[in-house]
Every structure is written in C-alpha cells, then in structure tokens.
C-alpha cells in the first residue's frame, strides 16, 4: 500500500482514455471508407469501459466457502465480492461496432454504388466524434492532475523525514 497504488489507478485511466482517443481518431480517419476486409462500409467503433474489479480480500482461501468448484475464481461482478476499499481503476472490455445503419448517398455512377444506386458510407458522424474526443481528452487531463496530486502527497510525506 503506497502512493504508487493510486498512480497505477490513474495510469489505468490514462491508458483507457488514450485508447478511446485512438479509436476516435480511427473513426475520423475512416469517415469515408467504403471498403473493409469484413465487407461493406466501415463501422463506427466504440470503446467499452468497465470498472476493474478488485480481487476480494478472502480470495486466497481456496474452497473455504464450500462452493461446488473450489478452484472457480470469485465472480468479480458479484456485488458481494467487491470490496470498495480496494481500488483497481478502469479497464477496457473491448471495442464494439456501432450498430446504427450506414449513411446512404444516392450516387448511381459511383463504382461503389449498390443495385439501387446508393453508396453505403460509414455511420461515423464527425461532430459526434469531435465531442467524444474532447470528453476523452478532458478525462485524460483529469487523470494527469490526479497523478500530480499523488506525487505532491508522496513528496510531502517524504518531507517528514527531512525535519
């Protein structure tokens, strides 16, 4: 238990927000991509954030609870297993596709047009991406501020030695 714990928590926030910014940048870069390896137009991607569940305090006592499978890890999402005193930060569960329909544009002479003459463009809205980018960037800054505060607290604790 040290000040590095909280720095690690903030660092998990930094990497999660950075990944979110990477994905947003990818969405903006592919805003007009009509071909992907999966076929069809590019799909807007979203990052799924989740609270990183802390290992419960009694997890080292294997089989002590008398469960069916004594070696089964405790379910981190069971509220009974979460100890709020132990903080682990944030994690990215995955990157999912936005399921909203493609943006259709009538352009029959375009080589990418379908049988009805529509071109399928990605469901990426630049304005929405910009707003998300701003939110992720501000969250990144908040985590940096938290790390700076950790450093200041550690430094002032160390200064007790210098009296």
């Amino acid at each position: 238990m040290s000040y590095y714990d909280s720095v690690e928590v903030s660092a998990s926030g930094l990497s999660a927000e950075r990944l979110a910014m990477d994905v947003i940048a990818n969405n903006i870069a592919n805003a007009n991509t009509t071909r992907t390896p999966q076929g069809g137009a590019f799909k807007r991607q979203l990052v799924i954030f989740a609270q990183k569940a802390a290992a419960p305090s009694g997890s080292d006592q294997v089989g002590a609870s008398g469960d069916d499978d004594p070696f089964a890890p405790p379910d981190p999402f069971d509220p009974q297993n979460s100890n709020p005193a132990q903080v682990e930060g944030v994690q990215v569960l995955g990157i999912e596709n936005d399921q909203s329909p493609d943006r259709l544009q009538f352009d029959p002479t375009n080589p990418e047009a379908d049988a009805r003459g529509y071109v399928h463009y990605p469901n990426v809205e630049i304005v929405k991406e910009m707003v998300d980018l701003m939110a992720a960037s501000r969250a990144y800054q908040a985590n940096v501020a938290a790390i700076t505060a950790s450093q200041n607290m550690g430094a002032s604790s160390l200064s007790i030695l210098k009296s």
Partner: protein, 144 residues
C-alpha cells in the same frame, strides 16, 4: 477536525499518522473515481476518514453540542462517546445518478475533493514535521 494541541506529544504523532493514512485512502478512492469518469454505471466511493478519526479520539460527532460534565463517579456521563478503533472504510454512494448511463461521477466535484484532500495531507505532514522538530529539540537540547 481533531485538535492536536490538547494531545500529549507522542499521541499527536499517532493521530497525525492516522490522518495521513486516511487521506491516502481517500486519495485512492478519488483517483479511482476520476479513472472511471467515463465508465457507464459507475458509482463513486469515498472514505469519511475524518469522522473515523474523530470517533477514534472519543469526541462527540457534533462539535457544537455542549458536553455534559459529571462531578461524581456515580453519575452517568450522557453521550460520552467511547473511543472506537480507527478503521476508515470506503462507502459507495449509489443514491445519486448524474448521467443517462447511471454514472454519478461529477468530475468537478472529484477535482475539488482531490485538491482539498491533497492540501489536507500536506498540512498534516507539515504539522507532523513540526512535531518531530520538537522531539529533536528535546533530544539534542539545541533549538533548530
């Protein structure tokens, strides 16, 4: 907040150590809240270590309440808080909701708490430093 001046010298350092420990726990929770600012459904948690510290000193929770004095052993001391061991716990605040995704992280509030907590920890560290200066003066008989 605990009044350090009324405590004996050695006890004051213990209380201040507990205060710094509590500020550290609170800082962990605030850092976690800030890291999860964009997590859907996240609920903030905090450590009310100041109340725990007060309870560990056996002080009444309401500082404005007049203490009832006793002048005989046979009288009952009303509301005399008995000291409880110092063990601050994190409490999840799931009573409020701030956003559509059920999260209740208010980033402005968390940044204010962060700055408040950091200042508190630095103040107590400074006070503790002064206490050790007293010890040193007493041990070396030389004012620093």
């Amino acid at each position: 907040m605990a009044d350090f001046s009324i405590l004996p010298l050695g006890e004051a350092t213990t209380v201040m150590g507990d205060a710094i420990k509590g500020a550290k726990l609170e800082h962990d929770q605030i850092a976690n809240n800030i890291a999860n600012v964009n997590t859907p459904g996240f609920k903030t948690s905090s450590v009310d270590f100041r109340s725990a510290l007060q309870a560990s000193l056996g002080e009444p929770a309401d500082p404005d309440a007049l203490p009832l004095t006793t002048d005989d052993d046979r009288q009952f001391a009303l509301d005399a808080a008995t000291p409880v061991p110092y063990d601050p716990k994190a409490i999840v605040d799931d009573t409020t909701t701030m956003r559509v995704d059920q999260s209740n992280v208010d980033i402005d509030q968390q940044m204010a708490l962060l700055s408040d907590n950091t200042s508190y920890q630095q103040t107590v560290s400074q006070l503790l430093q002064e206490q050790y200066k007293f010890f040193r003066e007493a041990a070396t008989e030389q004012p620093t």
